[in-house]
Point group: C2
Chain length 210, copies 2
DNA sequence: TAGATTGTTAATCGATTAACAATC
DNA sequence: TAGATTGTTAATCGATTAACAATC
C-alpha cells in the first residue's frame, strides 16, 4: 500500500504529539479545536499543523476547525493504533523488566507475548503473566505465534545477532533499546531509543545554557 | 558563554552518535579515520560530518583525516562528558528503578544522589546504595546538595508540579520520561524521552512498510 | 449574510550536499 | 613531489512559514 506522496519523517514524529493532545481534549469533553488553539498546546505553528494534517486528508472544516473526536480517531488510524501487534521482548534486565511491566503499551495495542533472557537465573520468573524463557526458545516462539515486533533490551553486545534472528523468523519491526545501530534489510522497520544519546544531548544543552 | 553562531539541533543530535563510534574505534585501537570512513559507519554523508565537526573547530588534517583519540576527547568535551553532574530521580516505579540501577549513566558522569517516591511502601528501599525517600524531602535535598539535574519518572499526573519544584530549588536541567510537555522557564533545559511517542512512530512505520 | 478558519499555493528559511582550493 | 583529505563556499534540496482564496 504505497501512499501518493511520501510523508516526511519530520511530520511523522509530530503525529504522536497531536494524538496525545487530542486524547487530552477528548478526556476533557472538548468538542472542537482550531489549528490556532492546537498550536498553543503543541508549540507547533498553526500553519504547520494544517500542513501536517493535510498530508493525510482534509479533516477540518472552514470556519469551524477540527472535530476533536473525529480527528482523534483519524490520527489513531493513521498511527495504526486501531490494530493489535504481537511482540516479544529480549533482555529482561532492568530496562527490559520496566518495559514488560508497563501497562500502557498493551492499552495502545502492543501485547508482549514472550520474554526471553540468556541468564538462567531469570528463567521462569513471571512478568505480568508472561514467564521468562531461555533466549534459545525465541526463534520457535516467533514463528509459532506470528510475532510482528521485537523489543531488544539487551546490552549492545549480541543485539545485532538477536535482531537478525528475529528478522529471520518473520519479525518486521524492531523497537531497539540497545545502544547500537542495527544493520538490517531496509524493509525492516527499526525504531531506536538510545537513552545514552538522549542523556548526552541533555549534557550538551546544559553546558550551552550556562 | 555564548558561542559565535548557534549550532542547530540537528547537528547536536548527531554528536552522540559520532562519539559512540569514536569510542568503538578507540577500543579497537584504530588511530585515524577519514570523514568518508566515518560516513560508512554512521550513515551520515562525509560532507555532513565535516560540516558538523567544523561547527566546533578544525579537528582534522588535510590528507590525513582525524586522529581518533583527539577527536574522541574533543567531542567528549563538547558534549560536556568531562564534567560530573549530580542528579535526583523522582518516581521509583518500573522505569525509575531501571534508570537508577543502570550503571552506564554514572560512568558518563551522571551521579544519582537521591531517589524519591510518594508511595510509602517504596521508602527505605535501596537502589544501588541510594535509599528511596519521601518526595516531600526532595526540595531540601536538591538545595543542600547543589543538584543540577532532575530525572522525572512519574506518571504524567504530577510531573509538571515536580518539575516546578525542582526548578524552584535550583535545578537547571530535566530528563523527562513522563508523557507530558513540561512548561518551564526557557533557561531550563528539558530533554524528553517519550516512549509512547516512539512506539507510535514504530507503529506508523510498520503500517507504511507493509 | 458576515465571520471564522480551513486547505493550499507561493515565499522564505534552513539544512544538506556538492565541489574544489588549500594544505598536510 | 604526488596523493589524499580537509575546511569552506556555493548550489541544491526540503521543510517551515506566510498569505489568501475557498467555503462552511
Amino acid at each position: 500500500m504505497m501512499k501518493n506522496k511520501k510523508v516526511s519523517m519530520a511530520v511523522i514524529r509530530r503525529l504522536p504529539k497531536y494524538y496525545r493532545y487530542l486524547t487530552d481534549l477528548l478526556d476533557n469533553d472538548i468538542k472542537r479545536i482550531s489549528s490556532q488553539e492546537l498550536s498553543k498546546l503543541t508549540d507547533f505553528t498553526a500553519s504547520q499543523i494544517r500542513q501536517d494534517l493535510n498530508n493525510f486528508g482534509g479533516f477540518g472544516q472552514q470556519g469551524y476547525g477540527y472535530n476533536v473526536e473525529d480527528l482523534h480517531k483519524e490520527l489513531g488510524r493513521i498511527l495504526g493504533l486501531d490494530k493489535t501487534y504481537k511482540a516479544v521482548l529480549v533482555g529482561a534486565g532492568n530496562l527490559g523488566q520496566a518495559i514488560a511491566n508497563y501497562r500502557g503499551f498493551e492499552d495502545s495495542g502492543f501485547k508482549i507475548m514472550g520474554i526471553f533472557d540468556k541468564n538462567p537465573k531469570m528463567i521462569g520468573i513471571k512478568l505480568r503473566d508472561v514467564e521468562i524463557e531461555d533466549v534459545d526458545e525465541m526463534s520457535n516462539f516467533i514463528k509459532e505465534n506470528d510475532i510482528e515486533i521485537g523489543i531488544i533490551c539487551t546490552p549492545k553486545e549480541g543485539s545485532q545477532e538477536i535482531a537478525e534472528e528475529m528478522v529471520k523468523n518473520g519479525i518486521s519491526g524492531i523497537w531497539n533499546f540497545a545502544p547500537a545501530d542495527l544493520k538490517l534489510p531496509e524493509e525492516i522497520t527499526v525504531e531506536n531509543v538510545h537513552l545514552n544519546e538522549s542523556l548526552f544531548t541533555l549534557s550538551y544543552l546544559l553546558k550551552e545554557n550556562d
